[in-house]
């Protein structure tokens, strides 16, 4: 048993996965779930973000929101790296179904197959969906 003053480290570290399946702007889920990830960064957990189904649209380049009067929050995804949130996974099938490629995305991501993403999901401790 170590003395209290000898114990160091951040305490419990869990694998958190944020599942993003919805397009931006039509609903608030993309924006507000991103806000969770940014706040969560302070807790030094093992954080991953998965973009699948319409969630892949959240990180598509070239979002011009002036005409709809909403704030373009897509640049915020580029700030994630600065918060040590670097594990961004995009589902290959979801991209292909939507006629998109990795080049259409505004941040560096790891593209993985549905099967690989299923395995990744299974390895997580806490999965948050919005």
């Amino acid at each position: 048993m170590s003395e209290p003053w000898e114990e160091e480290g951040p305490g419990t570290i869990k694998k958190f996965l944020y599942v993003n399946r919805k397009a931006p702007y039509g609903t608030i889920y993309a924006l507000e779930s991103l806000e969770v990830v940014l706040i969560a960064a302070a807790f030094e957990q093992d954080v991953s973000m998965a973009f699948l189904d319409d969630g892949v649209y959240q990180i598509k380049k070239g979002q011009d929101t002036k005409g709809i009067g909403m704030k373009n929050f897509s640049p915020t995804y580029r700030a994630l790296e600065g918060y040590d949130v670097e594990k961004l996974y995009v589902e290959a099938e979801s991209l292909a179904e939507r006629g998109l490629t990795e080049d259409d995305l505004l941040v560096p991501v790891e593209v993985m197959s549905r099967a690989a993403l299923a395995e990744l999901m299974d390895q997580q401790d806490v999965i948050l969906s919005f």
Binding site: R114, A118, D125, I127
Partner: protein, 102 residues
């Protein structure tokens, strides 16, 4: 490590169920709740999809949500177990974690 997946949307409204099934590993369980219960009903255009899933995954449906929508256990695809809220809680203890598909 095995997962309990919940699906709360009708397969006729959204791709939620299909997306879940595409990611639920063998040995995992799927619980249909709220409008998701329609996926459990026999004789629909979606019934074969869930029936196929039964081969390697356990499927459950939340009884109170079925009854609310005018269906009973008799309408449910064979092999899908009907549970109540107590059963829902028990399932969350039997599986290591829960993923909610919305």
């Amino acid at each position: 490590m095995s997962m309990l997946h919940t699906v709360n949307k009708s397969p006729f409204e959204r791709n939620t169920l299909n997306s879940c099934l595409g990611h639920a590993l063998p040995g995992s369980a799927i619980l249909l709740i709220e409008d998701g219960v329609f996926g459990a009903v026999e004789g629909t255009a979606q019934a074969d999809t869930l029936r196929a899933a039964l081969a390697d995954r356990a499927v459950y449906v939340l009884g109170p949500d079925l009854l609310a929508r005018g269906m009973t256990a008799e309408h449910v695809i064979e092999g899908i177990a009907v549970v109540d809220y107590n059963g829902f809680v028990e399932l969350t203890t039997q599986y290591d974690k829960v993923q909610s598909w919305l």
